[in-house]
């Protein structure tokens, strides 16, 4: 699947957040949008994840050269992990199962996929715990696991390590690193940490003042 961002402009009221952004993502791997706070990285990510519409320009997904309509089917092939995860008021397991239930995955398969993904992010022992009682680092890992369990073709991560400690940052980076090696998912993430961008990225896209500069 290929993602093409063409001449995107985004206004909130009379504030211009994005100014004529154009780029494309066409290979499996990890792309990092980097730039200072307020440069428009998160907005661009939300637009690419089809959670908001641009004021002008287009966000297009193509498969084998054919444009895909921005319907529920496409939206279920991509997902965004927000900086604040939005944990549902229930157990870790039910949080994990949410996206799979939306896709009518059979219960036995849900159990299997959730177990596998929790093991991948190191949260197996927290499976039956209430999700709101997790630490911030564990919550971040739950957010990534909740997205990974639905096998997205494109995974957007908005500042995945911004509010967690060093130990959990290393765990999250290791998860992203493993995804990169397995090359099953296109990962597009934001960060303002230059070192992290260099560690994780196949390609770094720099943003400044609402524009893509490099």
């Amino acid at each position: 699947m290929k993602l093409i961002v063409s001449h995107i402009v985004k206004l909130y009221g009379d504030r211009t957040i994005l100014k004529d952004c154009t780029c494309s993502f066409d290979k499996q791997g990890t792309y990092v949008l980097m730039g200072p706070n307020g440069c428009g990285k998160s907005t661009l990510l939300r637009l690419c994840a089809l959670l908001e519409d641009p004021t002008a320009g287009t966000i297009a997904y193509k498969e084998n050269g054919t444009p895909l309509p921005p319907d529920t089917e496409l939206k279920r092939r991509i997902t965004l992990v927000l900086p604040r995860i939005g944990v549902f008021n229930t157990t870790v397991f039910r949080n994990m199962a949410y996206g799979l239930k939306l896709r009518n995955v059979p219960h036995a398969k849900i159990e299997q996929k959730v177990n596998e993904t929790l093991a991948f992010v190191g949260l197996t022992h927290k499976k039956d715990q209430h999700a709101l009682t997790l630490s911030s680092g564990e919550t971040q890992r739950l957010g990534i696991a909740r997205a990974l369990v639905i096998d997205p073709e494109v995974l957007f991560l908005d500042e995945p390590t911004a509010s967690i400690d060093q130990e959990n940052t290393e765990i999250v980076e290791s998860i992203i690193g493993t995804m990169k090696r397995e090359a099953r998912t296109m990962v597009i993430m934001t960060t303002h940490d230059r070192d992290q961008a260099e560690r994780l990225a196949d390609r770094v896209i720099r943003m400044k003042g609402g524009r893509i500069v490099e």
Partner: protein, 234 residues
């Protein structure tokens, strides 16, 4: 003081001896209020969700009206329903006046704004990031709404229990539209009013004690629900 003591003794006596008339009155009270609550919830929850989650012209006015109607005077509702259902009223042909159905209609009107307003409040208090998370995981708009409602479940349950407490304790409207007919439309509150008029304070007090016990159970449930929600989000 003697009357109160006698009331306690008679309440215990009536309950222990399974007085059929008393149990008929209690059952009818629970049936009328329970059905009114089911209808009010079936209408009020979607209305609360609509007011909480959607933007449309006149929304602010609808919220103000809903909040104002939480304090509807029961006698005014009784009068309104009476005029609707009386023989010369627009719905007089249904022949519902002085029946349990008329009482259910009146109590539904009283409960509906409470359920709708408190459900709206519970729904708007759900963190907006939940909606974004739900959408980003592939929820359709309907699934997203359902997710928010599930997240607001403790507040919604509190709204339903609060409305139940209101209708169970209500007397003005059901006295007007039900007529307090023995064995047919006589419920706990109207019986208390009647027995007090007759000077039969012991029976009135006995029923009052039973009504208070039911109210206590409802409030204890409400507290438990709120406490559970607080523990979860602590």
């Amino acid at each position: 003081m003697d009357s109160i003591t006698q009331g306690f003794i008679q309440a215990v006596h009536l309950i222990i001896h399974l007085n059929p008339e008393l149990f008929g009155i209690i059952l009818l009270s629970l049936k009328v209020s329970g059905l009114a609550l089911v209808i009010a919830t079936a209408l009020g929850l979607p209305l609360g969700a609509l007011l909480g989650l959607r933007r449309f012209p006149g929304r602010d006015l609808a919220i103000s009206v809903s909040n104002t109607f939480m304090g509807l005077p029961p006698v005014v509702v009784g009068l309104f329903v009476y005029l609707l259902l009386s023989r010369k009223g627009p719905l007089g042909f249904l022949g519902l006046l002085y029946s349990p159905s008329a009482m259910i209609i009146a109590q539904t009107i009283l409960a509906l704004p409470i359920v709708a307003s408190l459900c709206r409040s519970a729904i708007v208090n759900v963190d907006p990031v939940i909606r974004q998370a739900s959408r980003s995981l592939g929820a359709t708009p309907q699934q997203e709404t359902l997710t928010v409602i599930i997240e607001a479940r403790y507040g919604i349950l509190s709204a339903v229990i609060a409305a139940f407490g209101r209708v169970m304790a209500e007397v003005g409207s059901i006295l007007i539209v039900g007529g307090n007919i023995a064995g047919y439309t006589r419920v706990m509150t109207t019986t208390i009013a009647l027995e007090t008029d007759k000077g039969n304070f012991e029976l009135a007090l006995a029923l009052g004690i039973i009504l208070l016990t039911i109210s206590f159970i409802i409030n204890a449930l409400l507290h438990m629900v709120q406490k559970k929600g607080m523990v979860r989000t602590a």
